[in-house]
């Protein structure tokens, strides 16, 4: 769990940086906040940036659109996907 929480913290930071959210994100943006549509209200360009982030920094390539929507729904889902990928590739 500790590793998961550390990963979530790092991911949040990565997302804020990649999407220039520094000035617009309130402190209550947490692991379960929806990223798209509601919550942060990110758009399709942000989605592309997050896909690149997952691939380039965390080595996880997600090509199926349904899977993407699922993984990118919040930070926790992204962290779980990364952790699963690491476990599979050990």
């Amino acid at each position: 769990m500790y590793f998961m929480e550390e990963l979530i913290k790092q991911l949040k930071q990565d997302i804020i940086e990649a999407l220039s959210l520094e000035d617009v994100v309130a402190n209550d943006f947490d692991a379960n906040t929806p990223l798209f549509v509601e919550g942060l209200g990110l758009d399709s360009i942000d989605a592309l940036e997050l896909i690149l982030l997952m691939e380039r920094k965390y080595g996880v390539k997600i090509e199926d659109p349904k899977e993407r929507r699922n993984v990118l729904r919040n930070v926790r889902a992204m962290a779980e996907c990364i952790t699963n990928h690491r476990n599979i590739n050990k």
């Binding site: 758009d43 399709s44 360009i45 592309l48 896909i51």
Partner: protein, 396 residues
């Protein structure tokens, strides 16, 4: 009095040939210009592209460029090749016999040189002689210098609608009596920059584009250039007239930086405004040369828009991008030349790679060259940044 605007000469170089003869033969033989990347090394070498089959030395020879001192990017060479063809075809001998201007368009400018020399330029001045040719104005100024054009010299850059906008401006310069003749066109060479940009956007086809097909999987980047000589009816030699620029419209969808709306709001607006400017009804259009890039979004958006505008009487439609690829800033001009060929030869132009219809649309794109009465052709160019331009060309 607003004079009519005629096309009196065209020039073209693309993946399907140099000049209108080779281009038409490619259409007749259903021979695509899409193939393997050979211009430069890339980690994306497996992605099909549509290259002009001439290297830069060839292009310099075709463009009749002998100036040893100046530097010529591939982009500019393509523009010069097309421009010279158009000028010769129009019977243009002396620039000063008519008030003449030039409006050209490009998205990449001298990016081919940028890619080769930019890193070095950041470190030392070894390639400083190339600095002046890296931007978007170089192709236009080399054209203007070549033909001695002094007034109304400008360059447009609005992504995929760039050269359609250049044609529109050229026509308006004539209709407002500022010019009697304008050399208009567009050019874009294949670059690593655009290949990687579109790859990152995940809209490149891994197989070659399939416009309006249910299983379409993205666009194929192409390169090329086309030029048209537009003349006022007051000075045009009737023997040289190919067709008329009878309508045009430029609107902005104001929706998204790279995507269109599903219902094609911007496309509907552009097509309707163009029809209005030409004083035509949808039923007057004989053939639509669609933007038809082969992306999931564009073809759905444009297809929906066509059905909304044309209702039950959608004319024959095709996208020629399965032949030439998407030539970005040159697309508007290249497809304007195709439209003029359709009018001159009274033929419908084909698409390629269409097997399964889109369930959302009732029309099917044409797949071969067919003789057909053609009176008015509509040509669509819809670009990034919501830039939607539609042109209408008419038989004279």
């Amino acid at each position: 009095m607003r004079p009519r605007v005629f096309v009196t000469g065209v020039g073209i170089i693309s993946a399907i040939g140099n000049g209108t003869g080779e281009t038409l033969a490619s259409f007749q033989n259903l021979k695509t210009g899409i193939g393997k990347l050979s211009l430069f090394d890339s980690v994306h070498a497996e992605i099909p592209v549509a290259e002009v089959k001439n290297n830069n030395s060839d292009l310099a020879r075709l463009a009749d460029v002998h100036d040893g001192k100046a530097a010529y990017t591939r982009n500019t060479l393509l523009a010069l090749v097309a421009s010279k063809q158009a000028v010769i075809a129009s019977g243009w001998i002396d620039t000063h016999e008519k008030h003449t201007g030039t409006v050209f368009a490009t998205t990449v400018g001298g990016m081919d040189f940028n890619e080769q020399y930019y890193r070095s330029l950041l470190e030392n001045d070894r390639y400083k002689d190339l600095i002046g040719v890296l931007d978007s104005a170089d192709c236009t100024e080399k054209i203007a210098a070549c033909f001695g054009i002094r007034h109304h010299v400008t360059t447009i850059s609005t992504a995929c609608s760039s050269s359609a906008n250049a044609i529109m401006l050229g026509a308006r310069l004539i209709r407002t009596n500022r010019l009697q003749r304008v050399l208009v066109g567009g050019t874009d060479s294949l670059t690593k920059f655009t290949l990687n940009g579109f790859y990152a956007l995940e809209i490149l086809s891994p197989t070659g584009c399939r416009p309006f097909d249910r299983n379409r999987n993205g666009l194929t980047i192409g390169e090329g250039a086309a030029a048209l000589v537009l003349e006022s009816e007051e000075v045009a030699d009737p023997k040289r007239i190919i067709c008329e620029v009878s309508g045009y419209a430029n609107v902005n969808e104001a929706y998204h930086a790279t995507a269109s709306t599903i219902d094609g709001f911007g496309a509907i607006l552009a097509m309707n405004k163009a029809l209005e400017s030409a004083c035509l009804q949808p039923s007057d259009i004989s053939y639509i040369n669609a933007h038809g890039t082969g992306t999931e979004i564009n073809d759905l958006s444009e297809g929906n828009a066509i059905e909304k505008v044309f209702g039950n009487s959608v004319p024959p439609v095709s996208s020629t991008k399965a032949f030439t690829g998407h030539t970005l800033g040159a697309a508007g001009a290249i497809e304007a030349v195709f439209s003029s060929l359709a009018l001159r030869n009274q033929i419908l132009l084909p698409g390629l790679n269409f097997t399964v219809p889109m369930p959302e649309l009732s029309f099917r794109p044409r797949q071969k060259v067919e003789p057909h009465p053609i009176h008015h052709v509509m040509s669509n160019s819809f670009g990034f940044g919501g830039s939607n331009t539609t042109l209408i060309f008419t038989k004279v």
